[in-house]
Amino acid sequence: MTLPTATELPIGAVVTEPGSTRRNITAGWRALRPVIHDDRCVRCQLCWMYCPEGTIVELKGVFKVGNRTYDTKYEINYDYCKGCGICANECPTKAIEMVPE
């Protein structure tokens, strides 16, 4: 890869694209992968709230799980999850399992 020259770069090292660390996929940091068992999830939001990376995605819609219906479902964006396991540690119903990659 050829990097830009001094005259091609914005002056003063200004980073012009907000949120551009998104280009850096951190999935490779993970040794353990969190897996949400939706049947045990009570939608308490704690995993979403405590995730340091914001990788727990909150989906809105109608979700049938057994004989229950929820308006929310939580999924994990594995591109950025670093596998810290805070979500699993905080989950009150043990609905998140940490599985080796």
Partner: protein, 392 residues
């Protein structure tokens, strides 16, 4: 050609002239911490703000480090900013000097120069400024209150054109506290000379950018090279700004000023008001006594005006450089001397050049001392650094 018709002349110290220039420029944010001999600048600015004559936010910071940091923040937000300091204050700012230049922020700072501790001295020399000479700032050294006033206005134009911070320095006390007549510009005309231009990047939630990131070895060098290019550009732009200023306001100085150099065999190269004034008086005296003497004054110190200095010294047989600062342990202790020596070496010029260290801690430089330098040049042209005016 447009030259002002009605003249408004005030008797001002150079420090007060700074404050008048800041007012004319319509600065938005000023952050200054008191230090001798700078203090009367911020006092006068405070008066202007208190009387509603200057519509600016004046931040009474708790240190010079914070003074420069605050104007860095304000300049990054798009404001026109000013600060001033001397001596230990400039030393305390040192870390942020590099950052302001690296972030390419158009900051203007006045530096009435002063000796450095220890022992403590409140008096003038250029030790403070010379420690800041390689920080990436443009540096002017003025030789009169009028020139300092005009240079601050030019400095804003230059800073905003090339995105670099600019220092305007001058002799502490010998100029900062000395009253001279200063012709003040019409403020409306100054604002026409300095239109508000939209900067490419500022801190604004409508156009978010990140400033001051971490640059790895793959990126860092390019940003430093950008600064090298910007200073080269500043050499050119400084001349253009000075010419345009001359057309509008009737006063211009060039980047290097010469006195009786047309047929001079011997020259003194100097900077600042006291050195320049006494060197000119000595040149007059020397010429009366049959020595073809002249003076070269470096007004733009960074970027170094190599071509102009070499041209000015082109036909002399020998020259001396009077430095009011000591670079301890250096092969030549005078900073300007070393600059000129390097410039000449690079251009294959070999001439007798005397380095003279004088005026340290405001030790008086007499006209007779300057005259003596001319006689030394004539009688024994050589390459050497001498410490003049000191008891040894």
């Amino acid at each position: 050609m447009q030259v002002q018709k009605t003249k408004h002349i005030e008797a001002l110290t150079t420090n007060y002239a700074m404050a008048y220039a800041v007012k004319a420029v319509d600065v938005d944010v000023i952050a200054v911490y008191p230090i001798t001999p700078q203090t009367t600048i911020v006092e006068k600015i405070s008066e202007f703000v208190a009387n509603g004559e200057l519509n600016a936010e004046l931040i009474h910071v708790e240190s010079e480090h914070s003074a420069l940091s605050a104007v860095v923040g304000a300049a990054a937000t798009g404001a026109r900013v000013f600060t001033a300091t001397s001596s230990q204050g400039l030393e305390l700012m040192h870390e942020v000097l590099h950052i302001a230049a690296g972030m390419r922020l158009p900051i203007v700072m006045a530096v009435p120069s002063r000796a450095l501790s220890a022992p403590i001295s409140i008096h003038g020399d250029y030790s403070d400024l010379m420690n800041a000479r390689d920080t990436g700032w443009v540096i002017y050294i003025a030789a009169s209150a009028q020139e300092a006033y005009d240079t601050v206005i030019q400095a804003f134009r230059l800073a905003e054109s090339v995105s670099l911070p600019v220092m305007v320095s001058y002799d502490g006390f010998l100029m900062s506290h000395t009253v001279e007549p200063v012709e003040l510009n019409d403020e409306e005309e100054v604002r026409k000379f300095l239109p508000r231009a939209l900067r490419p990047y500022t801190l604004n939630p409508k156009r978010p950018v990140t400033m001051g990131p971490l640059a790895s070895p793959d990126w860092y060098y390019e940003f430093k090279y950008q600064q090298v290019l910007a200073l080269k550009e500043a050499y050119k732009v400084a001349k253009e700004v000075d010419s345009e200023y001359g057309r509008r306001f009737g006063r211009s100085y060039g980047v290097v000023e010469t006195y009786r150099m047309e047929d001079a065999d011997y020259a003194i190269v100097a900077y600042g008001g006291a050195s320049y004034g006494n060197a000119r008086a000595a040149a007059d005296l020397a010429r009366e006594r049959g020595i073809a003497a002249g003076v070269v004054r470096v007004r733009l110190y960074r970027p170094f005006p190599t071509a102009d200095v070499l041209k000015a010294l082109d036909s002399v047989k020998a020259f001396a450089v009077v430095d009011r600062a000591i670079m301890f342990g250096s092969p030549a202790e005078g900073p300007l001397y070393k600059d000129i020596a390097a410039a000449m070496y690079m251009h294959g010029i070999d001439k007798p050049a005397l380095g003279v260290i004088h005026g340290i801690g405001q030790r008086t430089i007499y006209v007779e001392d300057m005259y003596k330098i001319y006689t030394m040049l004539r009688e024994n042209p050589r390459k050497e650094v001498v410490f003049m005016g000191v008891r040894v």
